[in-house]
Subunit: 488 residues, 2 copies
């Protein structure tokens, strides 16, 4: 064990020697770190990337490799969608919740198409083909999908909808690994000095400025002098203690999506004076929309009440489930739309009946609760309306074909994956802000170590996090390199 702390930078006066000197030090080799390192190196800075694992990856490599892009891409146009940067910005602001970062939303919306071209230039393949419907990721190698709540109420009222989930061309799920591999290839080609099995244990400070870091490599502390440091260490979903202190609602969930997402970078940034905001926010989802016919079912809570328009993005629906009283919700389906849920979701059939009253009884609910909910839903669905939740007409189906079933989504038992959305406050440049809204000199951050475009669990859409990681990772790398140039 070293005596260094994630929580307090080592004063420069206590540094015994410099083992490594670099321009830009990047911590973490997921998509954010790769993009930061790439732009830093291309910006002319000597760049070193430290990764605690044995290779690149992070949570990015566990993802579908989907990036939220809009404003009128080739794929959007080919599929007949006329998206605009304004509509994209409006959607991102809705999705960002009550404290959406307007500056980041506007910048990203304005440069989203250029970023898409940049990704292609790195070798990220996009077939440009659209798959309609509500899916999690394409099972094919198609590359454009609906990946959020764009068409759902209330989002469509404010932001003109378009599909914006641009998925890396990859046969089947899990293209995130390929995305990171491609970024890694570029990182290495750009001359970045990549150090794996290299765990950063402390930052080094000269007064308020961050001037380097202490890295544990081969069981020995290395003192790294760096002109700029970029924290790209991901969120804290793997750190139970942080979850308990900052986001205890997520204690209900047992399937974190993460690898080394232990919050270490957030803690180091806070220790350096950085502000951490929206730490209670998290994304969660259960892949309940597979098969898609299930979207025509209706969700009820333990009191038999509906609580969301089920045609929202599956993550928004899932996050709202967690707000419900009790520890489970049910998806009500009739025989016409029933199909066995995807195994991954671990959803059980909790009750079956020839009438909704029978299902209600079998679930142990009071009379005229669930059955009243279905009756009212059916009465309006027959007219193509959902006056309570404004579910779109194409997903409305009178649930009147017996047998009827209640599919159970249990928060602890079903597959509710989650990751955290709160983190360091940063400028669009990646500069880490302190609590007085001033930059911590020399310190940058990107990705889920920050509160970025995604910062509200109820608004998250697929691809928002990788959009944030890749685009703002690049901004951080550019700004970090510029600072090295300016201070040289």
């Amino acid at each position: 064990m070293t005596g260094y702390s994630l929580h307090r930078p080592l004063p420069i006066g206590e540094v015994p020697r410099w083992d490594i000197e670099t321009g830009v030090a990047v911590i973490g080799f997921g998509a954010a770190g790769a993009c930061a390192a790439l732009e830093a190196a291309r910006g002319g800075a000597r760049t070193t990337l430290f990764e605690m694992g044995s290779g690149s990856g992070g949570a990015s490599a566990l993802s579908g490799g989907e990036i939220y892009i809009g404003g009128g891409s080739d794929a959007q146009k080919a599929a007949g969608f006329a998206d605009t940067p304004e509509a994209l910005a409006a959607y991102l602001k809705l999705a960002g919740g009550p404290d959406a970062d307007a500056a980041k939303c506007d910048l990203y919306a304005a440069q989203s198409l250029a970023h898409y071209e940049w990704l292609k230039a790195q070798g990220v393949p996009y077939k440009g083909s659209f798959v309609p419907g509500k899916i999690i990721e394409p099972a094919t190698d198609d590359t454009l999908i609906w990946s959020g709540s764009e068409e759902a109420w209330p989002f469509y009222e404010t932001a003109a909808p378009a599909p914006r989930g641009h998925v890396i061309q990859f046969e089947g799920w899990g293209g995130g690994r390929l995305l990171v591999d491609i970024l890694e290839r570029n990182v290495r080609a750009a001359g970045v000095d990549v150090r794996t099995d290299a765990r950063v244990v402390a930052l080094i400070a000269d007064g308020p400025a961050i001037v380097g870091l202490v890295v544990r490599i081969d069981n020995r502390d290395h003192f790294v002098r760096a002109g700029s440091t970029v924290i790209c260490t991901g969120g804290f979903c793997m750190n139970q203690d942080m979850i308990r202190r900052y986001a205890p609602e997520a204690l209900k969930l047992s399937d974190p999506i993460g690898e080394n997402d232990n919050g270490s970078g957030i803690l180091m940034g806070m220790g350096a004076g950085g502000d951490a905001i929206h730490m209670d926010e998290f994304f969660t989802t259960c892949p309940w929309i597979m098969p898609e016919s299930l979207v025509k079912g209706i969700f009820v809570n333990r009191n038999g009440q509906r609580f969301i328009n089920e045609d929202c993005y599956h993550g928004r629906v899932s996050r709202t489930m967690i707000d419900q009283p009790g520890d489970r919700v049910w998806l009500l389906v009739d025989n016409a739309i029933f199909a066995r849920p995807i195994d991954l979701a671990r959803i059980d059939i909790a009750a079956v009946g020839e009438s909704w009253e029978e299902v209600e009884r079998e679930l142990g609910l009071p009379e005229d609760t669930l059955s009243a909910t279905v009756r009212t839903f059916n009465r309006y669905a027959a007219e193509g309306e959902d006056p309570l939740w404004h579910k779109a007409a194409k997903w409305l189906k009178v649930l009147d074909e017996p047998p009827f079933a209640a599919l159970e989504l249990n928060f602890a038992g079903s597959y509710f994956s989650f990751f955290t959305l709160g983190g360091l406050a940063t400028r669009p440049t990646g500069e880490v802000l302190d609590r007085a809204r001033e930059p911590v000199p020399g310190l940058f951050a990107a990705g889920r170590a920050t509160a970025g475009l995604p910062r509200w669990g109820h608004g998250y859409s697929s691809g928002m996090s990788l959009a944030d990681c890749t685009f703002f990772g690049r901004q951080a790398g550019m700004a970090a390199a510029a600072r090295v140039r300016e201070t040289a």
Copy 2:
């Protein structure tokens, strides 16, 4: 303007002179600061109290002067309630939510009666008389009331209920002012050096240790050397920027209960390395239970759905309202229980009808939503049951006597008072903990600048905050004085 920052302690090397030297410096003259100063002085420490306002008060003086006390007090016994420390501890842990501080709950439960005797010894008057029913504060000078969700589901299942709201003897509302006045009298008698109009603008650090503070008095910076510093500055409900960054759900509310609750102490503590936890949590309430007959009504959200047992503590009910979709909820009452709500609550009559269907239509709700909710509620209430929310039988009333009315509680328009519950992480001794769970040497905190007994808006009960302020203020004062003795 000074050049000092709440966000970063001034290094001791930059202190030009010492204007004041003291043993214990207490910041803030609400109940927490008063109790801390009192115990510090009585513990033998030279004690100086700095208050930015012109006199004592803080949010404590805006309160009803009610303290959550239990375990078998004279007043409880006289009223026939057999409370125990175990039941009190169990209730506090439920009320503290998913990350309740077990150590604080247990310590407070064990010493609650001794603390009550201490309060009496300071001269705080208690008549010892119980007022039954659901009230906010006694309108008389009685001093024991039900002040939480003790008798309500699900609390009574785990913690044996007893009334624990011990209110200072005072005719009418607002006894908090008297409570602080009495504490102030003791503070002055104990020889505490009280400095008002004295705004603390920075802490002073010697390495990781806090060794003093910079105070602005008469437009001049005073440098104060202190053996221990105790932050008792309250929460951050008056700081819109902090609300936005840390607790944006509270942006819905417009009536903060606070005076100078600007979060300055929390920011200074964080700047000194302290951890701030549960920053998203807040208490809110609307005084909708006056007159009490309204408790027999049922709340529905904009979809006509019930969402809570209405016999819970009014703050728990109010906090749950804020979780509902939309910006308002309705309290449904029939002619038998209708009474005009207390003016303070700013509640309007939104609809009146001879049938629940008419009320439903008048509110613009879809058919068979609100009316179905009432029908189901009535069907079971007639049998003395509430199978959905387990509202106690004594509050169940079939709502079948026309005319019927919907009383509207609009989050922005009705009187939803609120204050924040998140703050510095502390030990029961008041030692401020850093993010590694180690004390910040020399720094203590108590009251709403900390995450104390109350730290979950859905569990708050009246008197929990003053219990926390007074008891843990005392602990902090004692520990701060002990540290001065030990380091002397």
